[in-house]
Structures are given as structure tokens and as C-alpha cells.
Amino acid sequence: MPPDTLNATLSAEAPYDEMFGADGQCRPQYQALYKRLDEIPREELNRRQHAADLSFLHQGITFTVYGRDEGTERIFPYDLLPRIITGPEWETLERGLTQRIRALNLFLKDIYHEGRILKDGVVPAELVYTCRHFRREMRGVSVPRDIYISVVGTDLIRLRDGRFVVLEDNLRVPSGVSYMLANRQVMKRVFPRLFGNYGVRPIDHYGTALLSTMRALAPPGRPDPTIVLLTPGVYNSAYYEHAFLARQMGIELVEGRDLLVHDNVVYMRTTAGPRRVDVIYRRLDDDFLDPLAFRADSALGVAGLFNAYRAGNVALANAVGTGVADDKAVYAYVPAIIRYYMGEEPVIDNVETYLMTDGAQRRHVLDNLDKMVVKAVGESGGYGMLIGTHSTAAEREEFRRRIESEPRNYIAQPVLALSQAPCLIDGKVEARHVDLRPYILCGEQVTIVPGGLTRVALRRGSLVVNSSQGGGSKDTWVLNE
């Protein structure tokens, strides 16, 4: 399949194309790939795609759709063709993401302590205090090294002019990093020669970096801390990832029922007796952590965990209450938050965002609903969303009603053209919309493995890349140059 049929889709209205410039020429970083695609017979390409799919299935890199006796597991669709980011592009991203995580950590510390930014009126206090994920219980609680967010997955998209902007921050329990690592493994097996010659920066040290990020949180006087990964269990759709990361780090994968709290110290139940736990990389939402502190009906958590945490006897990553900073209405203030704490301009911009609590902005959005993306502020994973351009009148009416009755609960953004990248669809190379989720680790220092999860909206024209909504992913190459 000659990839130049891709050019046909280009026009003035077209989104940024990762492979082709506006002049229809292949971008330099894609030229070797372009050439290879031209040489390689279509059957061979299909064969390699098939080999990659099988490899995922056999390794059990799957999402679970689980019934009593079905055991159906589905692979997260993998696209064979890599997405390529140049060294200089990455350098900017790295700077911007580091700046952002530092600022957000300072913001969280501030709002859970003196609240200077609220008193100074930079962020409205009401906005923070009405946030569903604000945890009053965290007021005045000190967390190790003042690190609230240890692991972030930031969703970036690329605009028509080629700039990356932040679409949202995932500061609670971001997932997907195992696919980033698995995609790379498979890529190396399927395209060894191409990969070897491309000068791609490695990402394999993610597990080690994650472990030292967790180690940095250990309570004082615990030189050889016990670190565990807390999973909701095998029925969670990301269970594969939890098991994978635990294995990568060489730590125990625990469930709530494996842990217990005694005298404000957390232990795990082992065959050799209770063993003290110092740091918990938890992949469980705040709500379910501790039935005594949060949702009483949680069977997944550990009774007494929050008190042990407040007492400083155990560290949680991420900290409790970080969700306030990825509330989509607070998101709109992140550039201001960066300026306030860092005294710098944001390196990576936000997407223009309308707050529905502001009368003028709300009117503007309601008048232009068919051109807007409306999102519920506390949701993630592509749920609770209206994409104006792809909506029916009834859906718009429904969202108009919801916005008017609960303005705090919604924000709106203009419908943006996500950039597109070549993908192998049913044996043909076609362009699909993509985003990028790099993973940022904040321990003693900020570490970002060069790459991330490039998610693909596999349906033609679709802008939704979430795995729960029919998205796939591809390997992301960050080049040395």
C-alpha cells in the first residue's frame, strides 16, 4: 500500500498530520518509516500485525471482560506503526511537564495547608471547596517530602499548528503505562531492523524509576522500606497492569484483604506472620481506601489505613485528595497556578476552557453547543461527555439542561482537531486521530521516561481515544535527535 494515499486527506481544514507536512512532504523523522512502508508488501505487514496481536494475547496483556464462567479477555488493540517524536519536541515536553507537576504539587500542599493561592484570589476558594475530590480530612496533614502526586499521566494533544497542549491531567490513579512498555517490547520483535536503526530513546527503566520514586516516600527510620502495590483485585480492568508493574518492581501485589492496621501501623499478612508495610503504591481510588474514613461500604480497602497515613507511619502514592487538582474546572486555572508558584510562563499551554459557573462563558457555550466538547468535571475515561459536532439535538438538549441545573459540574472546550498519524487499518495504511499520554514520576527528582502511550481513535473520524471507548494504542518513539 503506497502511503501517499494519505495525502489525499490533507486540506486546509485538516488536522496536523504527524507524518506529512502541510506541503504534503513526509516529515524528516518519518522518512525512514515511510520508505520502509513503501517497500514492505502488504501481506507482510498484515502478517506482522497478526504476530503482534498474538503476542499480546499469549502474554495475557488483556483487558478483562469477566463473567462467572466466561473468562473472556480482550486485547487492547495495538497498531503496528510507531508514532515518532523528535528530540527537540520532547525536550520542550519534558520541560513543560516537569514544570506542571512541580506547580501542581505546590498547589496541593498549599490548599491543604494555608491556602495562600485561595486568599490571594488566584483560584476561587469556592471552586476548590466544592470539588468532589477535595478531601477535608487532608487539611493540615503533612505528606512525605510534600509530594502529593508521585505518578501522573498527562494527556496531550497536538493542535493544527503543531503545538502540544495539555488536554487533562490524571493525578489520581493514571493507568496505561504497562501498554507503553508492552508496545515497545512487541515493536522490537516485529520491526527489529527498523527500530535498531532509528535512534529511539529507551523506556525500559520505567519500573526501576517507579520503584525509586516510591522509595523516596518511605517514612523516616525505615532504611529498607517495604513497598507494595495495592490493587482492587482481579476483577479490575487494569489488573493486568497492576500485576505487571508489581513484577517489574519486584514488590508484592496486595489486595485490601492482605493488609491490616494495628496501632496505626500497616502490616501485610504473610505466611511468616504480619510484615510492616511502609509505602503503598495504590491503584485504588480515595473513596475505597479505608471504610472507616471514606466509603463505609468499601470491601476493597483497609480499615484504619487513613489514620496510619495521617500518623506518618505509611506513605500513599498518590496522596489522598489529589483529585482536586485534576478536576476539569480547576484545570482551567493550571496556567495561573504555574505562574503563581513558579513565577514562570507555562511551557505547555492548556486547551481553551469555558467555566460554566461564569455567566458570560456559559451563555457562549450554550449558544454554540454544536461546536463544543462538554465534560463533567469529576469524570475520566471519556465518560459523561458531549462532543458537539457528533451529537444529536436531543443529546445537546440533555446537556443544556444538565449544565443549567449544575453549572459547577461541567466545563466546555472547543472541539479540537486531534493530530492524525498513519495506522494500519484492515491491511491499509490510513490516518487516525491520536493523543499522547506521557508518564511523569516525582520522587527525589522528576523522571519522565522518553515516550508515553499514544492512543488511537481507531474508528475513522472519531476523536475519542479512551480504551474504554474503542480506542487502541501504538508505540511512541522519542528520537535522540
Binding site: 495475557g60 505487571f244 508489581a246 508484592e252 489486595e255 505466611t271 511468616a272 506472620g273
Partner: protein, 321 residues
Amino acid sequence: MLSRVADSLYWTSRYLERAEHTARLIDIGLNLMLDQSSAAVERRWGRLLDSVHAPPRLTGSSDAYHIAEAMTFDLSNETSIVACIANARENLRQVREQISSEMWEQLNTLFLRVKGTRLDDIWNVSTHEFFRSVKEGAHLFQGITDATMNHGEGWQFIQVGRHLERAGVTATLLDVYTNDLLTRDGGPETPQRTYLDWVGLLKACTAFEAYCKVYTADLRPERVVEFLLLNAECPRSVRFAAEAIQASFQSIAEATGTRKSGRVNRLAGRLRATLSFGQIDEILETGLRAYLNDVRRQCAQIHEAILQTYVAYPVESALAS
């Protein structure tokens, strides 16, 4: 090792051993049925169902198809082969990161094959092949486990599960058979009349050939009982299982610190001693039933002690000590 993980490995192995045992019994039941009168058939199915704790609704049935269906493919019957394999798989699924992927693939394949088979597909055509493939599937799992998993604590819990289940089912099988064969109304039947039944018992323990090597094909009840109960080399004898259990517990005690494992080790040692030093003539004289009941009771005590020592121990006392 996490208590939950040890527990899951233990149960995986127990369930799989049970599935293999049941597959063997049904296979042999179907095979021996061909050789006997209908009255004997009914008795034999009765014994077999008793020995695997089949659900009461099957009691008195001698309809081979019905029994095979209920004991093989009925997921709602928790003693059926498919239910045991499903439970083994469910336990293993929860600890996938602790085992080799080959182990998981083998058990998963076995589960899918059994679940995907209908009795009508195999009835009269390849029944024997099917049960054989179930047995082989279970053996393959244990073989893969030996070859691909570290022989550490987790592996030892798998061994404990397998041998404790084996000791229990063999003792139960012996009890049901001997109770029926040795104490029938009108006194014990002659070995000639019950020859096929004794062969059946030995075959149910894959021990017929091994028995013949030791005692020749001269089948005598006391020898059969001795062989299945006290033989040190037959891998399906109760004594063999008891020795394996004790050895595994010693390794587990070393891995976890002996402080708390005293009771488990004492119980395992007692069971082994009961069998290693047992004399068949004395046992028959004082009562085989009582002896077998004692063995089963000791197995149950060991099971309880595992839970209390390694899995569901009271935390306060564990923290205090």
C-alpha cells in the same frame, strides 16, 4: 509470601487433584460397568459416588450417562470435574503474577477444553480418551509446575495441597470400598467373586500394575489395603502422601521461621508416623474403619492448622510474639 497467595496455590492444587481423582473414578466406573450384572453395577456406582461426596440427588442412580454428566460437566455440582477445574483456575487466576505463565496457560487450556466438551460428543465414542485427557492435563500441570516454578515456599504449598487431597481421597476410597466388600451381609465375599472390584480399587488409584509388581496378580484384600495405605513407594498411597506433606511443611517452616509452625509440623509428623509405623495385621484386627477415620480426621486437622498458622492467624497474638 502473602497468606492469600499461599492459600490460593494450596487450593488450586487441591481442586486439581480432586478433578483428576474424579476423572479416574468415572473412567474406571464406565469401564468396569461393561463386565458386570446390573446389581453389581448399582453397588459400584453407589460406592463411587459415596467416595467423592456426590450430591444426594445422585444416590441410588445407576444410570451411567446421568452420573457421568452430573459428575463431569455440571458446573452447579461442586464435586464435578468441571467445577473443580473452574475453582482451581479461579484460585490460580488471582495469583497469576506469582506463577509461571506456562502453568496458567496449561490450566486455562484444560479448563476451556473440559468446559467446551459435551457428553454427547464423546459418549460411546471417545469417553475414555476424554477422561484420559483430563488426567493428563492435571499431570501436565504438575509437571510444568515442577519444571518452571521456583521450588520455594509457593511450590511447597502446591505440594501440600496436592498430597493432602490425595491422602484424604485415597483414605475415603479405601474406607468406602472395604466397608462394602469386607462386611457384606453374609460375611466377606471371596476374592474370586469380588476380583473385579479389587482390581477396580487398585485401578482407581492407578496402582494395579504397581501392586502386581510387588505382590503378583494374586489379589488379597489385606494386601491391597496394605499397598494403598502403607506402601512407601506407591505415589498414591496414603503413607507416601503423608511423607510428602511432612517434607513440604519442613521446607515451609524453614522459609517462614519455625517459631509459629510447631503445631502444623507436629500434626504432619504424627500422621506420617501413624502410617510409617502401622502394621496391617494390627490395623485389621483393631478395625480398619476406625483407623481410616483417624487418618481422615488427622488430614482435616492438618488442613485447619495450615489455615490457622499461615493464612487466617489471629493478628494480635502474631504481633505480640
